[in-house]
């Protein structure tokens, strides 16, 4: 594999792994704080699946990089500017409704992307996606149900879910903003061009929002910069100070 191809693959794997890692961390912040015990357990389990998937993606990224890095090195020893997650997943949780809305917007994307990745020309990508896809199918079922339950719920829950959708919708577009890395992955048959997933995504999200009696904002303005690493929100740095605290305070510490 030529160096540039390798770099491209690493960037793709970081995008996959960082999305799972940062969202997994965000969702885990609910542990002990969710409105009822069942939701607390559900969020912790969702976070656990995401962190597990992260180990596979970042573990593979570490292998492709030169040297003998591990998934832990990649997760805990990089600073903000080296993260490649979309901005959506680094946003603070907000209320429970906003957390579940974000989860659905992300799960919906993954539920379309992962089955395609399970046919990747790269066998490692394919097997990780095949595994993650089964977990994602379970997540999207639950997050969609919850969005419908709260959206088409009480006046209060409806208003909160509409506010969550209005707040988060400008972060959806970044998932489909293709660049040269995506083009290289598509050309190599490793991953689909994200732009090609948009219509299927809009159909799925449109169906669920209609059922939830929620209105998707008209504007297609999109905040970008996370996937490319150009600009993260201020929130990612704060998240990392917690997530990476142990390795920063005690470099090289192991369990």
């Amino acid at each position: 594999m030529a160096t540039s191809d390798k770099d491209m693959l690493v960037q793709f794997l970081l995008r996959m792994g960082d999305n799972s890692l940062i969202l997994g961390h965000r969702v885990s912040e609910w542990c002990g704080h969710a409105p009822v015990l069942e939701e607390d357990i559900a969020l912790a389990n969702t976070a656990l699946d995401l962190i597990g998937q992260t180990q596979f993606w970042l573990g593979y990224a570490a292998e492709v990089m030169d040297g003998d890095k591990t998934a832990d090195d990649v997760a805990f020893l990089r600073d903000v500017w080296n993260f490649r997650n979309i901005l959506l997943v680094e946003l603070p949780n907000g209320d429970f409704g906003q957390t579940l809305m974000r989860q659905f917007l992300f799960d919906a994307y993954q539920s379309i992307l992962l089955p395609r990745l399970s046919k990747s020309s790269d066998p490692r990508v394919a097997e990780i996606a095949e595994k993650a896809s089964k977990e994602c199918a379970y997540h999207v079922e639950r997050s969609a149900d919850t969005v419908v339950g709260l959206g088409d719920g009480t006046e209060e829950s409806h208003a909160r879910m509409q506010a969550a959708l209005d707040r988060l919708w400008p972060y959806v577009g970044e998932m489909f903003a293709s660049d040269d890395i995506d083009a290289a992955m598509a050309a190599a048959g490793i991953a689909p061009d994200p732009a090609s997933l948009r219509s299927e995504y809009d159909a799925l999200v449109g169906k669920v929002m209609a059922e939830a009696t929620l209105t998707i904002p008209q504007s297609d303005f999109a905040h970008k910069g996370g996937r490319s690493g150009k600009t993260h929100t201020e929130h990612l740095g704060h998240l990392l100070t917690q997530m990476q605290w142990l390795q920063r305070a005690y470099p090289g510490a192991s369990w």
Partner: protein, 194 residues
């Protein structure tokens, strides 16, 4: 068999990269021959014997079923003198995975296996279809409703009533969901079908 300290950590690889197993345990001779192995011959238990030993290793979180009942042992084979045990995870982030590997190693080393390598295999992804019938029966007898293709428990594992309802899609471990029986009013775990 608590607290067997293992000589040489087991090597867990990703399948493609065979690595040497930790094989520094003292050589075995004298009267500790393995079943079915004539004295003086190389002590190499058959893979059928290994499977029997693995049948006795319980799942660390649901000890009523074994690892083979769970269907996560995908292969047992020799490469040269090294025994390769291929294991697939149930859920990506299941914290029991590393304990499962440790338990496999402890059990096999306890039976005298010295050259051992555990390999992680992700594909094909684990499915509850691989759970044995005896595993399903044991789960139910233990109070956990076994997985059903319909996506929910067939009946309450306590009283047998079909009047059951879901409390949460998730439960006490990644592989379970919480349900409740509306006849006997008892909550119970349901083993998720994936």
């Amino acid at each position: 068999m608590a607290a067997t300290r293992l000589s040489g950590g087991v090597v867990v690889t990703d399948g493609q990269r065979p690595t040497e197993g930790g094989g520094e345990a003292p050589s075995r001779r004298g009267g500790r021959g393995l079943p079915g192995v004539p004295p003086g011959e190389t002590l190499r238990p058959s893979t059928d014997t290994i499977w029997t030993w693995l049948d006795a290793v319980p799942d660390p979180e649901i000890p009523v079923i074994s690892l083979t009942d769970l269907g996560i042992i995908r292969d047992v084979a020799y490469e040269g003198d090294t025994l390769i045990v291929t294991v697939t995870p149930t859920y990506s982030g299941c914290p029991a995975t590393s304990i499962i590997n440790l338990d496999i190693e402890t059990a096999l080393r306890g039976h005298g296996i010295e050259q051992l390598e555990l390999r992680r295999q992700l594909s094909p992804a684990w499915t509850t279809d691989w759970m044995t019938q005896s595993g399903r029966d044991k789960l139910e007898a233990y109070g956990i409703a076994p997985p059903q293709p319909a996506g929910g428990p067939e009946k309450c594992p306590h009283c047998g009533s079909q009047a059951v309802e879901k409390m949460s899609q998730f439960g006490s471990t990644p592989c379970k969901a919480q349900w409740r029986c509306t006849a006997c009013l008892e909550p119970f775990d349901y083993f998720k079908c994936i």
